[in-house]
Amino acid sequence: MNLALPILVPVLPALGAAAGLATGRRYPGLARPLAVLPVATAAVLALVTALQLGTGATLDAATRLAPTGGPEISLALHLDGFTSLISVLVGLVATCVQIYSTAYLKDDPRYPSYAALVSLFTAAMFLVVYSGDLIVLLVGWEVMGICSYFLIGHHWETADARAASLKAFLVTKLGDVPFLFGLFLLGADAGTFRIGEVLRTAADGGLHHPTLIALLLLAGVAGKSAQFPLHTWLPDAMAGPTPVSALIHAATMVAAGIYLVARLLPVFLQSSAALVVLAVMAAVTMVGSALCALAQDDLKRVLAYSTVGQLGYMAGALASGDRQAAVFHLVSHGAFKALLFLGAGVVIHAAHTNSLSAMARMDGLRHRIQDAQWTMAIGLLALAGVFPFSGFFSKESVLTAAEHAAHGEALTGSLGPASAVPTAVGWTVLVAGLLTALLTAAYALRLWLAVFYGRSRNGKDLAPQAGAPYSPEIDEADPAHLEPAAMRLTLWVLAVPALAFGLAGLRTDWLPALLDGESLRVSFATGVLGTGTAAAGVLIAWAAWRTVNARAAAGQQPADPARLLLGPLYRPAQHGFGVDQLYSAVFVRPTEAAARLVRFLDRAVVETYVRGAGAAPGWLGRAVRFAQTGNAQGYLTALLAGAVLLAVLVAVRS
């Protein structure tokens, strides 16, 4: 096939970004076409590439880039079913986000740079997906990190956005350091950075330190894909504009970690210890984040925590050795989560607040934004895993994979022996997955009811509560008008895959043929269990909602149904179970340092970095600066003393 097409896919958005940055100030009129067209073209090209490649085929092409003296780095392209599927998803979501942003950030003076960064971000994600070389993949990985830093901090006038962008950057970087080591170690062990050859070496058992490599890589994955314990940046990252949340935190950046593990799964299968760690990580992430999601008041934070949880499902599938299920869920989740975020954007635009409790006191949101109501219903049903929405099939395939792993017959396919996956992994993922299914259904319903079926009690509660979560958008929505078409129609575009993609799982030949070739059929037992727990969750949430509303009607202080459901867990869950505080206590200098952190956000980059990495560099820096007295004699003393010391050491050694 023509190699130009897949090469153009990452290149076009990158060029668009460059052009957007270069012309943005002088020709603001160009910003919109430059934002939308390259990304849209790239999406089409990605689709064409996928169609040309067809099912079951792979393509590898490479050109040598730099002789480093050791394992060499090459500009390699690797195409297979996984890349086809994910690149089409990325293209679709990115295009929708760009179109949506033209309306959502219509009057933002920084729109040109924003759009360019989104394009660059998309380009980087395409690069990660298509790259057949670990180092090139790393380049895309890092570019995404930087872009996300700038995008989350788009509203840098506000302290929240600055802190959040910083936190996202630092936390992901915290994971990237071990990740970098892992990559180098992997390259050194395999003697190459080409993914294909690395996998071949791994399959032959040629890796010397598979467990170490896998654990190091996992740290990076935990950072990027927001898995416990590095998940804390994702909910905070909601301070960015909503379309950015949709792009970064639903379909692309967080997916990168999962995608990487899927690509390198044979390496992970070499180490059952790494799989166990992955499973535990996934299980803790799933349950914890679902509890947090239930307790959040901020609409976007609910969605963010739900993203964390769904990523946990994918990680769980990977731990069970089934990358098909993981990627299946990745794609369907990408579709419905992008839909949910964009829908949330419409809601926030209309409601002038992020706060669920404030929305619950608003009348008539459902009449004003009917598009959002129905598309979000589709998205939430998919999220809750209700038949026949896409989430049902993909989630069930994850549970099925876990069930198989629990019986010692993991669906590893041709990647490795089924025995590579310990049965404990399967059980952990299965139990956590079912529990999460219950919670997910509960918070999905709570979300929908609170947003669209709120009831004004006295007509004055429309204003957001004091201390309501921060709403960053430049907001001039006019109640008399519908939201712009660019915002409403994209919702419907995304609703199609959210509704129908799961049916691809039913057509048992197409999707598996595209991926690893194993069946994706839902097993009966998990199907019943999953649906049952979801239904239970819905019922419980409904009951709680009714109770709360009845009490409110009786004149009592209206309360959040989640408070009823979670009981004593409510407050810890609302605060993310104190993981952030734990970090403050462990990494950041105790208590008062955390308080100062907020105060000195202007210096935040340095300070948090220093503290996040342990206080040592900070003290050292202070000491060094202290030594820099300006007194030349002091300098000379150090110089001569250093020389004498060196001489003594050498003389003693020899």
């Binding site: 004699q633 003393t637 003594v648």
Partner: protein, 205 residues
Amino acid sequence: MSALLAAAGSLEPAARSYLSPTGQEIVFLLVGVLVLGAAVVSVTTRQLVHAALWLVVALGGLAVEFLLLTAEFVAWVQVLVYLGSVVVLVLFGLMLTRAPIGRSPDADSGNRPAALAVGVASAATLVTLVVDAFRSSWIDLSGPAGTTRLTGEFLFSHWVLPFEALSVLLLAALVGAIVLSRTKDDRAKPRPGNLRTALTKSKER
């Protein structure tokens, strides 16, 4: 070839013990004590101008040591360059910075303890190293080692490149010194050699 050279310096047990010094050695030691004493006084005295004069003694003593080591040319260069110009420059420097003529209580900085520590440490280390290495080495002082003719020969048959590089260095130092001594608004170029006028002029300002 260099192995041969390394063997040229004799490490054989000294032909003479340390207890029966030759006349040369006695002179060398006496002058050495003088040099060292002058140096110590030079770095400790509180009278700044005296320090410069003691430096003259130390450097002159070193010229004698060079002579004793049969390096005539180096000795003469030492006398000419150091005593003839460097010390004069130093004295100029002291005067132009209005160093007090009498005792000045603050001749030493607060860094003295550290200086003492580092000085003693370096002395201990270096002496140990040197004594350990050369305890049995003997210098054969027969034959000319540094007459003017010999010096000229080896300089120009072996060390042309560094010699040429030195000329660039000297010129650069000269130009640098002149340009730094001119004051900013003094745009007229001084003719070569009037560094001193420039210096005094700047002092008058």
